[in-house]
Amino acid sequence: MTVSTEVGTRLAAFAEAVGPTGPVAVVGGRTRWDLGGAPTEGTRLVTAPVGVVDYQPQEMTIRVGAGTTVADLNQVLADAGQRCALPDRGGTVGGALAVGQNDIDLLGRGRVRDAALQIDYISAEGRVVTAGGPTVKNVSGFNLPKALVGSLGTLGLFGEVILRTNPAPATVRWLHAERAEPLPVFEALLRPAAVLFDGQAVWVKLEGHTVDVDAESRALEALASFREVEGPPPLPPHRWSVTPADALRAATLPGQGERFVAAIGVGLLFADCPQPARPADLAARQVADRMKQLFDPSCRLNPGRRP
């Protein structure tokens, strides 16, 4: 997977493909294509560079083309005993960052927004711009990668990114109890990777040293009848973002439908029905609109989409 070409060459070629004029969007795996609105008709579609550019496991960083699939990225990381925060849902690295949605086990894996150390993107002017820096710790200048993650490509089109990686845990174990109280389960554990609750049953993902996973498994046995399972339950189709407190009382939230799975301690909720629109903070909206206007005055990047 490692690509040997010069770092700048592929970015320059991508910048040329994006060009300085006309509506343009990057197409990745199309797994979240309609999120925030599909690109308007007549938008030119381009693809981002593909492949691992540089991987230094001991630095806990990897530089990849944004067009690389998350599956390919994960394979390279797994071969070196590492992983990262990006969820594998059949899409690309650039897509996962542009969408910014977390995996259900974000308590173990980390948040997507914290994974992007550096983003090299193509600006609305067709120029290569670097946000952030290559090291795991960096406060040189403003926190521009944070504005980019979750922006749906409306501020810049991602070409290459440097991601923070982490050691993969020695042991991963999913446990399931048909009936359990989710809060005592969550509070009994030091750092569970996930605690899921569907109103009756609880699923727990434990990970780390085997001895620790064993100890936490034993602690859970005191709370309910847990048994080991393959993985999480199937998730209902619609993703909600609520407070952890609301996730605990998910059954009483209006409009979520018959079935739900809530990520306890996090606030992600998967439900039968879409989340009702949430009131926007108008002053925040003004800042976001000004940012869009400053970064993309002609609204040529992913027109029709709004994060």
């Binding site: 948040r111 711009v129 944070k146 780390g208 002053a283 800042v287 976001a288 400053l294």
Partner: protein, 495 residues
């Protein structure tokens, strides 16, 4: 004009009231005292921060107690075309809080209440003037702490941590401040009050919360902050490894990470600083070692023991002459006290120091450290190294006596070479101190014109007229509006 400004500010901030608190009453009391100070002594105090940089000129100094008062000050400043500079404890080392252009200084130290601890949402709402260590001490009996722990944590504020996206030894495993700020109420430079982020994991819209963190006071003023609560680990092991060579300590750090272990902290001190620290705190640091590595692992008992054993083995394989495990909480606390007071300890040697802050890839630590010693020698300066080795975050301390003619020039020249050596090794300008005025001139060496132009666009999204902490972070050539804000100063009035 000036009298009018003062009058308006005084009307907005009537003399001190004694406030109640839901959880914690603010400390100290100076009831009846004006909260708008214009006397030269008070303003002179706030001309500087903890950096070596001088040249600040403070305008009126305001001590608001509520977001509404901060908002009123910002609106008055706007009406008078004056810049504002927010200020916490003034512990910044990059000159970020220095008032340039006689701005209205908004000192947030009176907004120091812990408003709410919400364990269900794993969050504490605090005002920006809450001191970092006070918060963790308050949370500890509840089983939680605030993970970022800068060395200045006994005095620095959460608002300052947010503005600088501060780090600290334990950010290796837990992440820097950004990771631990969930939401923040902000008074924008326009005077509007906005909530950025939220208690839910994926708020709608752009991540303006993330963009705001690390803004160094140029994007607005945080008036209420939701910080993430981190559960206290049941088991902790603190190891002290001694080495005959600094490079061995640095290479051990790389090897630990390569072995798949991410300790809570990995800190290296060279012999010079170790001696100074040991004379200061008597923690039992070995003064004959060329370098020591302080490594800490946290978590559940079983895994912690495995990691501690493995770190010891890796250290020995890389030349550690001694591996010591802190035998008690007291010994552990003493070792950390030594590490965190290292900068105070050097006062025994010379009266002044300049603390640098760059990051290099871990694999380049030994190589860049060798360059740091060579650079200091060439400039006839004493250098000590104490740093967050796990993050590759170097902190060379150049030690000097400011009364010596010409020494500050040599300090700055050596500093510039250290910064450039770090960049040449694939590193970055700052790991946790920020840019402020200190590293503005170097920004062009890490970033292209296009990169800086886009950082300035982010700035202008929050502050179109560049009136919040003007003259910081972005080099002047890329931030024309700052020049206008600075020129608008009524010269001579506040000098």
């Amino acid at each position: 004009m000036t009298d009018e400004l003062e009058d308006e500010l005084r009307r907005a901030l009537p003399a001190t009231q004694v406030r109640g608190s839901r959880i914690r009453r603010r400390r100290g009391s100076d009831a009846g005292r004006s909260r708008v100070r214009t006397d030269s002594a008070e303003r002179a105090l706030l001309r500087r921060d903890a950096s070596v940089f001088d040249g600040g000129v403070a305008g009126p100094v305001c001590f608001p107690e509520t977001a509404a008062e901060v908002q009123a000050i910002v609106r008055i400043a706007n009406a008078h075309g004056r810049a504002i500079v927010p200020r916490g404890a003034g512990t910044g080392l990059a000159g970020g809080a220095i008032p340039l252009g006689a701005p209205i200084v908004i000192a947030l130290t009176r907004m120091n209440r812990i408003l709410e601890v919400d364990t269900i949402n794993r969050v504490a709402w605090v005002e920006p003037g809450v001191i970092n260590l006070d918060l963790s001490k308050y949370l500890r009996p509840m089983g939680y702490h605030f993970a970022p722990d800068p060395s200045s944590q006994q005095v620095c504020t959460i608002g300052g941590n947010l503005a600088n996206n501060s780090g600290g030894p334990h950010c290796l495993a837990y992440g820097v401040t950004d990771t631990h700020i969930i939401a923040t109420e902000v008074v924008l430079p326009s005077g509007d009050i906005v909530m950025l982020g939220g208690l839910d994991p994926e708020p709608d819209g752009l991540d303006l919360r993330g963009a705001f963190v690390g803004g160094e006071g140029t994007l607005g003023i945080a008036t209420k902050i939701a910080v993430r609560l981190t559960k206290n680990p049941p088991a902790v092991r603190t190891l002290l490894l001694s080495f005959g060579h600094v490079a061995d300590a640095a290479n051990t750090v790389s090897a630990v990470i390569a072995a798949g272990i991410v300790p809570a902290a990995m800190e290296v001190m060279d012999q010079r600083i170790t001696i100074a620290v040991e004379n200061y705190v008597h923690a039992g640091y070995p003064i004959d070692a060329a370098a020591v590595l302080l490594a800490e692992v946290e978590g559940l008992e079983g895994g912690v023991q495995i990691d501690a054993d493995r770190i010891g083995e890796i250290g020995r394989a890389h030349g550690a002459t001694d591996v010591r495990l802190a035998a008690s909480d007291r010994e552990r606390a003493l070792l950390w006290k030594g590490r965190k007071t290292a900068f105070g300890a050097i006062a025994q040697i010379k009266p002044d120091y300049y603390l640098h802050d760059t990051v290099v890839p871990r694999a380049k630590l030994a190589e860049v450290l060798a360059q740091v010693y060579e650079i200091a020698d060439r400039h006839e300066l004493l250098v000590m190294n104490v740093f967050h080795a796990g993050d590759g975050n170097l902190h060379p301390l150049l030690i000097f006596d400011g009364r010596e003619p010409g020494v500050l020039d040599r300090v700055h020249e050596a500093g510039a070479e250290i910064v450039r050596a770090s960049l040449a090794a694939g590193g970055v300008l700052s790991g946790e101190h920020g840019i402020g005025v200190e590293k503005q001139a170097y920004m062009s060496e890490q970033f292209s014109d296009d990169d800086l132009d886009h950082q300035n666009r982010l700035r202008q999204s929050f502050d179109p007229h560049c009136r919040s902490n003007p003259g910081k972070v972005i080099p002047m050539g890329h931030s024309c509006a700052d020049i206008q804000a600075l020129r608008r100063v009524p010269t001579g009035v506040w000098g």
